[in-house]
């Protein structure tokens, strides 16, 4: 039996405490212990990005994050993107562009896009594609996903331009 360790962290704004097995990952903790099943387990080795979450403002593969390391961190998952009365800008753009087919990659894709836009609100098409390299989608062919992220990026550019006037 693996040792257990107590962790306390902030999950989508809520302080959360529980005991985790040392060998667990942040992903299995979120999914199986905390009913946050947005982040998906697909490859389990950091190749596909379906489990992408944002920890201390940095996107990571939750499947590779040791569960004990959750202690003290600020964790955001797709469940936390809901902004007051609706979807986040990224989620809304994904819906309107039809950037979703089977949906399995979508939460990870949305979280990685959110991270990229937080780091750099205005991006080129090539920068978006590079930034999403760690997220695999087997349905869409990526074009609609990139289009959705680019729309949010263009809105940011328009706002910057308006503010400058």
């Amino acid at each position: 039996m693996s040792a257990m360790v107590d962790v306390t962290f902030t999950l989508n704004g809520h302080t959360t405490s529980l005991a985790v097995a040392v060998h667990d990952s942040a992903l299995t903790t979120l999914r199986d212990r905390l009913d946050h099943a947005g982040a998906k387990l697909a490859c389990g080795e950091g190749e596909c990005g379906a489990c992408t979450i944002i920890v201390d403002d940095i996107s990571v593969n939750a499947c590779l994050m040791p569960a004990p390391d959750l202690d003290g961190r600020i964790v955001r998952t797709v469940e936390g993107l809901w902004e007051g009365d609706g979807l986040s800008k990224v989620q809304d753009a994904f819906v309107r562009h039809g950037a979703v087919q089977c949906g399995f990659c979508t939460p990870g894709m949305v979280m990685q896009a959110t991270h990229l836009l937080e780091q750099q609100p205005e991006m080129s098409d090539a920068e978006v594609r590079r930034g999403l390299e760690g997220n695999t989608c087997r349905c869409t062919g990526y074009s609609k996903i990139v289009a959705a992220v680019m729309e949010v990026s263009r809105d940011a550019a328009t706002k910057t331009a308006e503010a400058a006037e």
């Binding site: 040792a3 060998h23 667990d24 389990g44 950091g46 940095i58 590779l64 040791p66 760690g134």
Partner: protein, 295 residues
């Protein structure tokens, strides 16, 4: 509903969250500790035989002494916890050893670069580790820390003497990679080549880094290092000596390729055949030497 376990779980019997270097080396002192930081290697490999050094998991991610990039005595100390993303974003390091940022840009994906640490890439001792050829070209040294007589004791090993085989190094089981140290060498030519089925998230079939003072069609004081063509990341010192400061004409380049071919010993595996690895190594070296020659 309980989901089936994705993989058989390893059994860590103890967990230490080290919050300073003393606590980290103390937790490793009996050789039964397995250090973890980003987890990008260990959490994939932990079920494999031999991947877990000891049954005490030692989280070093909260050790302040292992963080940050600092200049001292003409050298730059890169703390073991520095991530690939941090290497990419550090302007001083970009000047001092440009080869590191060039290679870090080809490292896995954003998510992995955000978590993977330079210390882990060294300590894991993979022959294919992306940052090793660049660090070999940057004349890097590894700072190892351990507990001795209740105090922290450190030693420095040059990276070219660090690796002893696939997954093996001179690091003792009670030692921690505390930092990677590179001399400040601005203005050197820096080239990095890597082969995989796609640009992102690839374990290299072959990777090569090359640095030196490039001028007048010559490369002076060169460094040529390869990943995934030998049991450890290697420098091709005979090839370096052959081309050092000499005009890179077609004949010298041909001799350099032959010399390099004798210095590497690639295996055949599911990623590439031996023939293909040799072909890639020759192609990369030829391309880079021609690039230096033609400016």
């Amino acid at each position: 509903m309980a989901l089936p376990q994705f993989q058989a779980a390893p059994q860590f019997e103890e967990y230490v969250n080290a919050t300073d270097l003393s606590a980290a080396v103390a937790a490793l002192a009996d050789g039964q500790g397995t250090p973890v930081a980003g987890g990008t290697d260990l959490w994939v490999q932990k079920e494999l035989p031999g991947a877990v050094a000891g049954d005490r998991l030692v989280n070093i991610k909260n050790v302040p002494e292992l963080k940050g990039i600092a200049a001292a005595d003409g050298r730059i100390r890169i703390g073991a916890l520095v991530t690939m993303t941090e290497i990419l974003g550090d302007g001083r390091l970009k000047d001092a050893a440009p080869i590191l940022a060039i290679a870090a840009d080809r490292f896995a994906s954003v998510q992995i670069r955000n978590a993977a640490t330079i210390g882990g890439n060294v300590a894991n001792a993979s022959p294919a580790a992306d940052m090793m050829p660049p660090l070999l070209c940057a004349d890097a040294a590894v700072e190892l820390a351990r507990e001795e007589g209740g105090a922290i004791s450190t030693r420095e090993v040059t990276l070219s003497e660090f690796f002893t085989g696939p997954g093996r190094s001179v690091r003792e089981s009670n030692e921690l990679v505390a930092a990677v140290i590179v001399p400040i060498q601005p203005g050197r030519y820096a080239g990095f080549c890597k082969s995989g089925p796609r640009p992102a998230l690839e374990i290299a079939r072959v990777s090569m880094a090359i640095t030196g003072e490039a001028a007048g069609g010559k490369l002076t004081n060169p460094r040529i290092a390869f990943g995934a063509v030998a049991p450890t990341p290697i420098r091709c010192t005979q090839t370096e000596a052959l081309i050092d400061g000499k005009p890179l004409d077609d004949e010298l380049i041909a001799r350099a390729l032959e010399t390099m071919d004798g210095e590497i010993s690639p295996i055949a595996d599911h990623r590439a055949s031996e023939w293909y690895r040799r072909h890639l190594a020759r192609t990369y070296l030829e391309q880079e030497l021609r690039h230096v020659r033609d400016g």
